[in-house]
Symmetry: C2
């Protein structure tokens, strides 16, 4: 019996019976207990079941899984996320815009972080369900298919009624002359609303987003409290931003 088939049967058994022993599975599947043990170890690593002494118990099944390997510029995004995490304290209220840097941040939040997070991004909301102490509020609206965020007047209205400590903003582009800009008109209005509802604006940018300008203005440089990039804050590429008075980390 091939490994994949076998592991599917293990998942089904655990789903039906809640707890299953390695010896039972070994007999049922006609393989050694060692093989079952390995399978259980692997499935546990994927979060599909929980390994216990002598067997396995079922886990709430998450059908959607996040493939981190696919993130472009992943190491840089991890670096940025780690800088962002150093700003966060328990009991904060945070707004997160979309994008993969924010998604990486959501993933890397400490598992014991206690916070309230507002977001309009489906992937980020899904990722936040893995954090037991985070209260996630999803801002509803019409789904924009490609970016998997909500749009529309509902989103802007909702944002205008909340007050957050921090807004972590990503995706768009930043330049000295224009500040933060975005490709879409509606998204730019939503981001403006996020900024208006937050005490501190932290812009997350991989270095390829620096000096990039889009069609719609979101805010000026002087409205941003801090920019977090994968570069060291002494990097020559950031010289002009420092000179413009921006806080870098």
């Amino acid at each position: 019996m091939k490994k994949k088939e076998r592991q599917k049967i293990i998942i089904d058994e655990v789903s039906i019976n809640r707890k299953v022993s390695s010896s039972f599975l070994s007999e049922k599947l006609d393989v050694s207990e060692d093989t079952i043990r390995r399978d259980i170890h692997e499935l546990h690593g994927k979060g599909l079941l929980t390994k216990v002494h002598g067997g396995a118990i079922s886990t709430i099944q998450k059908l959607y899984h996040y493939n981190e390997d696919l993130i472009y510029n992943r190491e840089n995004k991890i670096r940025i996320a780690q800088k962002a995490i150093s700003l966060i304290r328990d009991s904060m209220v945070i707004i997160m815009s979309g994008g993969t840097t924010n998604l990486m941040l959501a993933k890397l939040f400490p598992k014991d972080l206690k916070a309230t997070i507002y977001t309009y991004s489906l992937p980020i909301a899904m990722q936040l369900t893995e954090h037991p102490l985070i209260e996630t509020i999803f801002i509803g609206g019409k789904i924009h298919r490609n970016s998997m965020v909500t749009t529309g007047i509902d989103v802007i209205q909702y944002l205008s009624n909340i007050r957050a400590d921090f807004c972590f903003m990503g995706v768009s582009g930043i330049s000295i002359e224009q500040g933060i800009t975005d490709e879409g008109y509606e998204v730019s209005l939503i981001k403006k609303a996020m900024i208006n509802s937050s005490d501190h604006i932290v812009y997350l940018a991989t270095s390829n987003k620096l000096n990039l300008r889009h069609r719609y203005d979101v805010c000026n440089l002087n409205e941003i409290d801090m920019v977090l990039t994968n570069l060291d804050s002494t990097d020559p590429a950031l010289k002009d931003y420092l000179k413009a008075g921006l806080n870098l980390l």
Copy 2:
């Protein structure tokens, strides 16, 4: 070079350059063009890039992927979803509650279906982003971690302002005496609100949900327009439901 590593490099190249030729990749990675062709074929099958003549072009990256193999009772859910699809027409307004049967339905909607769909479920919303002609409206609120749906007064209020043709309701339990019931108080209120906002209530139930009762009432049998199960409507297990005057398919 191992296959996984190689495929990651292919994805990165396509992301950077938008279009890449098989011969370029073959040289760069020092493998035969046949191997590249196979890789591209496999990555195309996973939706990670688009195969074109002589190479590949990039696809919008979806980082969250749906593992259909993990759905318990999958074949039964497909059967139910197919029955549900036979009820749907273009330009309908539909409310979908949570659960894996509804998720399967979302997946199996025709790719050319034109409809407006309201949902409070993160996985279902994500699945609906694969349907180019479906307008998905996500009902915001506080995320309930395990079931990945939104909860709270916001959801109920939002629902009270819309009017849908159909509500496809799943998960809970159904019995002759109590009708539809649910495990959670708040979810039961939300489901009541879904029912109040819909012209037709269609309950989706795998046979193991029949004669199952939970703590909180959602609605009586006589409020349900139709029940779709994996069983044939002449099945003995459904006799009492037919006698109670229920429509079955």
